[in-house]
Symmetry: C2
Subunit: 346 residues, 2 copies
């Protein structure tokens, strides 16, 4: 299998290295062959080529079986007036690969409950899978700017809502058969289209229960009743906000993975955390989010369920027994974390 | 002073009655005269007149010194396909009164810390004032709908951002001289206009510190470091989501007030909670959010600071000593809560 890696900026290269090392260790043990090819994206790509998503990168990603991304962005490139921004590379890549469904699983490992801002009793049985629409909405709508006005258009087509809804319901079938759809249908036209489309598609899945929530209520319910939710499907910007809110419950962003999937097999896998410029280059970033994203890559793009589960079990072992990196209350370096996961594979 | 009350739907009339009773008790004690005039808005207005904001209501509000609103909406009127919705009345009223700055203070009373989903140590010193832009953004932008597409336009002018920013900085001067501006400037054009305008206006307030946060990070930081924030200013939809998230920290929505202010004196005051159809008509709704909104009315529209503080102290007394309504772990009815606050005025 051909895996393109896009280490990107900040701690991106450090956590990508760790994830690749784990994938190689898994390949060795299971007799798989993975070919890795590294390309530029984000700030480092702007520095080298002037473009946040160089053509060579995009071409390689399109031919790959899966794409692994570290992180993009950093203070060096974040002048709001700048014409070219690292994030544009990531958004363009998501669009070009057609990865419309961004999966963000959230579980709270018991060993980390003490790090969560939430009370322990709230965290029991939290197991949520967010399915965030990733290639539509205000992220990709028309924008205008004059001296004294700016606009962003949020747009959704029925077809865009249908496909991400189906993905959410299919995932719910394999879980607890419950889907919560989040919108702002009391105010937004796109949300009314969202709600009526989700309701119609839900009828194709009589075995799965659907409920609707308004995004403001959901922001509250994620804190007061987090264990009530199974699959949560929502549009791009609401998903951006709600998944970061939910991520705070896990105690650290450092260990949360994501998978972005389209109709085809090629998926885009990245940890939820950003480029973390404050700790970049120090070898202390937590690589578990990246390593768990690699597990999702094996599961969703390569069909290697056993290997994916092996990695997840190894990460759980490390969370239970240590070592722990700084963000989760320990002192271990990125490479110590990586080595501990590899040791736990056997 | 002329106060228009808009009891609205669900528990709206119950909590409005309680707030009016407290205002009358305060008037008696301080020698003020308040004239109350009640009008229809929301679902009950649709039932009576076909319109969510009848002309008579709007006219009365425009002539008033202040407007007090209970809540609007309910299952009876929430078919997403409906042409007329209760919320439209509220949105039209906000626009017509020009109340562009929605103030939502958040403090966590020690007696209620056990009800919060957040760990107690996180709640220490939490004292945030949200200033949500209330008459712009996707709430009021152009909407389109065809069989297979929907759009919402989010639009901001520099002037709209300037005025709400100035309000936020002026409020910060009276508090801890810190403003956090929240946007999504790495993706949205309106957010880039927002950020550059806020940055420019901040220079007029050298005594106040400004920081910018992205909305997704802020959704996380409100949980991990809530005591870091003083005044938080943001656009309409982000404010809707973040203030509900923050409200969850307080342990109950039932006791959070809000004030919506424009350039003039007339303000719109409402508890944060909705119409709560599940408990409407039972006399058990918590009236403290409404009563605290009445205190904000005295402060911001009538300039009665002492009377406002007296109400706030009485509510704090009731929170400390009881009685408590159901939502905050007790059994007291709406009228028992109201009477306890009135008794504590002396
Ligand atoms: C970097 C940014 C453009 C991105 C987004 O908003 O989608 C990030 O916050 C994310 O959630 O992956
Ligand atoms: C009822 C609804 C339109 C309203 C809003 O979204 O502004 C409410 O959620 C609020 O926050 O006051």
């Amino acid at each position: 299998a051909r895996i393109v890696t896009l280490p990107g900026d900040g701690v991106g290269p450090e956590v990508t290295d760790a994830a690749v090392a784990v994938l190689k260790a898994v390949a060795e043990r299971s007799g798989q062959t993975f070919e890795f090819e590294s390309h530029l994206i984000g700030g480092c790509a702007i520095d080298a080529t002037g473009e946040p998503l160089p053509a060579a990168t995009l071409e390689a990603c399109k031919k790959a079986d899966a794409v692994f991304l570290g992180a993009v962005g950093g203070p060096k490139w974040s002048d709001p007036q700048a014409k070219v921004r690292p994030e544009q590379g990531l958004l363009a890549l998501r669009a070009a690969l057609g990865v419309f469904a961004n999966l963000r699983p959230l579980q709270v490992h018991p060993a980390l409950a003490s790090l969560s801002p939430l009370k322990n009793e709230k965290l029991k049985n939290v197991d949520v899978l967010f399915v965030r629409e990733l290639t539509g909405g205000a992220y990709f709508g028309a924008k205008t700017r004059t001296i004294d006005t700016a606009t962003d258009e949020c747009k959704y087509t029925v077809a865009e809502v249908e496909r991400v809804t189906r993905r959410a319901f299919e995932l719910a079938r394999e879980r607890k058969q419950h889907v919560t759809s989040v919108d702002k249908a009391n105010v937004l036209e796109t949300s009314r289209l969202w709600r009526s489309t989700v309701t119609r598609i839900a009828a194709e899945y009589p075995d799965v229960t659907l409920e609707h929530q308004l995004v403001d209520s959901m922001a509250m319910l994620l804190l007061t009743q987090p264990s009530r939710y199974d699959v949560v499907v929502t549009e791009n910007l609401f998903g951006d906000i709600l998944t970061d809110e939910a991520a705070a419950l896990a105690g650290s962003l450092g260990l949360l993975p994501s998978a972005s999937l389209g109709e085809g097999k090629v998926g885009l896998y990245e940890p939820i955390h950003g480029s973390a410029p404050d700790i970049a280059g120090q070898g202390v970033a937590n690589p578990l989010g990246a390593i768990l994203s690699a597990a999702l890559l094996l599961r969703h793009s390569l069909g290697l369920e056993i290997e994916a589960t092996t990695i997840e079990a190894a990460v759980a072992h490390v969370l239970t027994n240590g070592p722990h990196s700084r963000d989760i209350g320990g002192k271990a370096s990125t490479s110590e974390m990586r080595d501990a996961v590899i040791a736990a594979l056997d």
